[in-house]
Amino acid sequence: MHRSGMISIWFFVGTLLLIYGILILGAGLYGLSHPPAVVLAELHAGIWWGLLLILLGTLYSVRFSPWRGR
């Protein structure tokens, strides 16, 4: 998209991934003391997946931020 002033779709994607990452990481950390009743809970997938979402979400939010370069 080249339209002047329009926020990039990737900023929306990054922001949502970042928020999701924080929520999932929080739930994953809570699962350390209260393990969920799922197969291979010992892998703590929520923590790793949450961190991945936070990383990608931050990258995209910053890279495509509407305030960047202003």
């Binding site: 994607v13 949502l16 994953g28 997938a45």
Partner: protein, 570 residues
């Protein structure tokens, strides 16, 4: 949060339970898609903005949207279920049943759609063959689109009821009105933005099932060994080696049906002429982006089996109970094939991840529905309303009509959902009806683009006769099941095989009738074929573009990976 009270109206029986964080993730998703719709309304002023997203999309955005419009939740759940039922053969619908056609669209057909500046596929038929072909295509497409949308909506609501225990009316109304509102506000621009978001969520929501599943089975070989142990008999893990005979594979199909019925007619018909997906590519900013978009989509389409088919195969390997057909499941109270994806989600995903997975399913549903309603609004406005109701009107009038058509499409879809609820068997008929039209339309468009001798009469009568022959073959087998041995060339053929061969015959009838009628009638003058037909369309030269930026280069890369994958899983 307006969602929460209604979500809490849950029935007693459900497959999984959501925690607070799961519901927060789902609620945030609804907030995000609606916010995008409200934000983009200010950028949707003209008809070009509303119906074709201003023709400003990059190849990546158009390509991801192109794929997301196809990647509905029923597509995900349905093919995961098919993988549990038929094994890796279901992958054919993602590979040979998609990749060659998507590359063909990008390299061969897109230039004609794009250069003709048509708003829709029926619009191309008008330019090439005249009004009668356009009306036939537009009416069939518009009708089938809203019916399919309603059926998908009902199916999704049913899934949410089974999996989460949500009230079926709540699921239908909230999901549909959300889609209707954001498409109403921002048109195709809003639909495309949300489809890209939904595409990302689908991947992050579903990929974890495959990763943890492979860890549990000890990798691919471990999974294959477990499946062979759990289900001795026909192989569930070979793509081609069991297709030599109808009786050697769980799908009851022969390689000829897969290659020519699925890989040629059905696949090419859907990916190159179904306006639901083609509309996304028409929104590209230039011809090179329009050619690259389906190629990018093809690259991602090849990877989709890893989040859709693999969970079904993992279900065969690790689930302690054997899933059964829907009828048997409702009679015995056990779980059906259709539930394999949510079952696997519940098996591996704890709080938070479960919410993301359910969001992925809902995102799939909404991206598919947004595709339907935005395509419906465009075809209705440009191909039915403008030529027959109000030919000359200000652009703003057509935008307004498009907006209200969006809501009309959603309401008709909701009506269809309730109709299907009362008459469940109608579902099979409407899905069959949709398939009747796709194969002959591909014959008509292909001849129109590549053979200058095709005449308007040839195009119309070919399309009509192909559609009628598909309906006739379907009715023949319904009335006399023994006719299957003639339609599908074997009495052992199953439903899938019948669909493949019916499509093939109807395409052949369409092509023969088009050719014969064209030779009997007068062709259009050459000057009227400019920009519409191969040989009379000046295509921009790519000689100054570096090789790695050319669509043909990336199409070759995707093609090579496609061949390698087929050999690996032979």
């Amino acid at each position: 949060m307006p969602l929460l009270p209604a979500i809490l109206i849950q029935s007693a029986s459900r497959l999984v339970s959501l925690s607070g964080v799961d519901m927060a993730i789902i609620a945030l998703y609804f907030v995000a898609v609606l916010s995008i719709g409200f934000y983009l309304k200010r950028y949707t002023k003209t008809g070009e903005d509303f119906f074709l997203a201003g023709r400003e999309m990059t190849a990546w955005i158009a390509g991801l949207s192109f794929l997301a419009a196809n990647l509905g939740s029923l597509e995900m759940m349905g093919w995961a279920a098919a993988a549990y039922q038929y094994g890796i053969l279901a992958t054919h619908w993602y590979w040979i049943g998609a990749i060659p056609a998507m590359l063909f669209l990008g390299l061969v057909m897109m230039p004609f759609y794009y250069i003709s500046k048509t708003h829709s596929v029926p619009g191309y038929l008008k330019l090439r063959f005249g009004e009668s072909s356009r009306v036939l295509a537009a009416v069939c497409f518009g009708l089938m689109t809203v019916l399919m949308s309603g059926i998908n909506m009902y199916s999704m609501a049913l899934v949410l009821k089974v999996v989460l225990g949500w009230d079926i009316h709540f699921s239908i109304w909230v999901s549909s009105l959300t889609v209707g509102l954001y498409v109403f506000l921002g048109g195709l621009l809003s639909a495309i933005f949300n489809e890209v978001l939904q595409f990302v969520l689908i991947w992050f929501g579903a990929l974890l099932i495959s990763i943890i599943g492979l860890i549990e089975t000890g990798g691919w070989n471990g999974m294959v060994a477990r499946i062979a142990h759990n289900f001795p008999g026909p192989s569930y893990t070979h793509l081609w080696s069991t297709l030599g005979s109808f009786g050697d594979n769980p799908m009851g199909i022969h390689w000829i049906g897969i290659v020519f019925g699925l890989g040629w007619v059905i696949s090419f018909g859907y990916w190159t002429t179904d306006f639901l997906v083609v509309q996304r590519v028409l929104a590209a900013k230039d011809l090179r982006a329009a050619k690259m978009a389906p190629i990018i989509g093809a690259g991602f389409k090849m990877m989709v089996p890893f989040i859709v088919i693999l969970p079904g195969l993992l279900g065969l390997a690790v689930l302690p109970e054997h899933l059964v057909g829907a009828d048997q499941a409702s009679a015995t109270g056990s779980h059906s094939y259709n539930e394999v994806l949510p079952i696997m989600l519940a098996r591996y995903c704890g709080p938070g991840l479960l919410g993301l997975g359910i969001t992925a399913l809902m995102a799939g549903f909404m991206s598919g529905m947004a595709g339907n309603v935005s395509a419906f609004a465009t075809v209705w406005t440009y191909d039915i309303y403008r030529p027959f109701f109000r030919k000359e009107a200000p652009d703003a009038h057509y935008v307004s009509v498009g907006r209200w058509c969006t809501l009309l499409g959603v309401l008709v879809s909701i009506g269809t959902a309730y109709f299907v609820m009362q008459f469940h068997s109608i579902m099979d008929y409407v899905q069959a009806l949709f398939s009747f039209f796709v194969a002959p339309l591909f014959g008509t468009v292909l001849l129109g683009m590549l053979w200058r001798r095709t005449t308007p009469a040839g195009g119309f009568w070919g399309l009509l006769s192909g559609t009628c022959s598909a309906i006739g073959l379907w009715a023949w087998v319904k009335i006399n099941p023994a006719a299957l041995q003639y339609v599908a060339l074997s009495p052992k053929a199953k439903d899938m095989a019948e669909n493949m061969y019916r499509a093939l015959w109807s395409w052949i009838v369409c092509v023969i009738v088009t050719v014969v009628v064209s030779y009997m009638t007068r062709p259009k003058p050459v000057e009227e074929l400019t920009g519409l037909v191969y040989g009379y369309t000046k295509l921009p030269s790519e000689s100054g573009v570096p090789v790695y930026q050319r669509p043909i280069f990336w199409a070759c890369v995707v093609g090579v990976v496609f061949v390698i994958l087929n050999i690996i899983f032979w």
